[in-house]
Symmetry: C2
Subunit: 217 residues, 2 copies
């Protein structure tokens, strides 16, 4: 009974996610679902990416279990940000996306970034209308994350490795990390960045532009 | 229907957790459920604590979504470690604990540490037979974690703040963190540590000994 219910929840979610994605694509809105642990640097990444994509239209949906700290911070930077507060739920789902899209004003042709809940497990299991997922991991989390949380990496089209200024301080083993990523997500590019200085973010933006062009053509 | 099922799952879990805890307590085994994000430093903390509690009997249960990297590392240090691999599940539950306890050899009067899945959300919702929970958060995750993930902090008897050597490099705001902790977990002590050098771990061990003495008396 539980397994059947679980399957029904996934099917219902996936069907709605498909509709949401169709609706967004029909308006040439390119949608990126950003996964990562608490404190991986998702908001910093989005801030840096948004700066570089200006003046193209862009909106961010911020998913949080509680608090609107990140939404307030993004708005203060002039970024069009919308909050989903799940009140305990550990991932976003398609119904939450449908609800927030209903109250958003987003231009045709926009970039749409969704910062999922800080969690390297559950968000990987749900599509929510995105064109692709990316996963953000900080060097401070250690070199073993692709091995320990394979789904978040295998379902993502690219991996952004953050806080690279701490590499030596934390003894990060990039070879071990890269080998783990290659084993669960063969071909997915790795982008090392420093979200505080912006180092490395241009390469992420170039890759996003290529992914968008290829997806919307 | 879904809500009822959710309630039934919790009730079933809590009932079993109560029985597990009774069984452990009757053998004077003191059980600590360790929560924290991926890469927060849970395994390093347990390694340092185990070194200091020697020669007292001690066992560790390692929860992981995938891989046995931590269990292998703990065993290599001579620590009695047992693996639970959830195969995708985002938290440990009482039935998993019952299963692993069935295959463990653990002496009466032992310390039992459970490293829960790296996830600051779902593990907070489940009791699994522990006497108390502690939450581990690294300065690299940022100063806002108690505000964003209140349940993990409010359900924990203490908070271990790790990787304090990175404080300045990441611009950690300890006052903001402490205020957040105090608001969701009034009275819970904060222990800043460096898991690589062992700095600060003695205070954690003293607190654990006092908690154990008070719990088992």
């Amino acid at each position: 009974m539980r397994l059947e219910l679980k399957r029904a929840i996934y099917e219902e979610n996936d069907e709605l996610a498909r509709k949401i994605n169709e609706g967004l694509r029909s308006r040439r809105i390119f949608t990126v679902n950003v996964l990562g642990s608490p404190g991986a640097g998702k908001t910093s990444l989005l801030t840096r990416v948004a700066e570089r994509l200006r003046p193209e239209p862009l909106a961010v949906i911020e998913g949080d279990v509680a608090s609107d700290i990140d939404t307030v911070a993004l708005k203060a930077l002039g970024i069009d940000a919308y909050q989903i507060e799940t009140g305990g739920d550990c991932h976003l789902n398609a119904p939450m996306m449908e609800a927030v899209l209903g109250r958003m004003e987003i231009s045709d042709g926009s970039w749409l970034f969704i910062e999922n809940i800080g969690n390297l497990i559950c968000p990987a299991e749900f599509v929510i209308g995105e064109d692709l997922k990316v996963v953000v991991a900080s060097v401070a989390e250690g070199s073993d994350k692709p091995y320990k949380y394979p789904a978040a990496f295998s379902k993502s089209a690219a991996c952004i490795l953050t806080k690279i200024d701490l590499r030596e301080a934390v003894g990060f083993d990039e070879g071990f990390f890269r080998a783990g990523l290659a084993s669960v997500a063969p071909g997915a590019p790795l982008f090392p960045i420093n979200g505080r200085t912006g180092q490395g973010v241009d390469a992420v933006v170039d890759w996003l532009k290529a992914a968008r062009a290829s997806s919307l053509k």
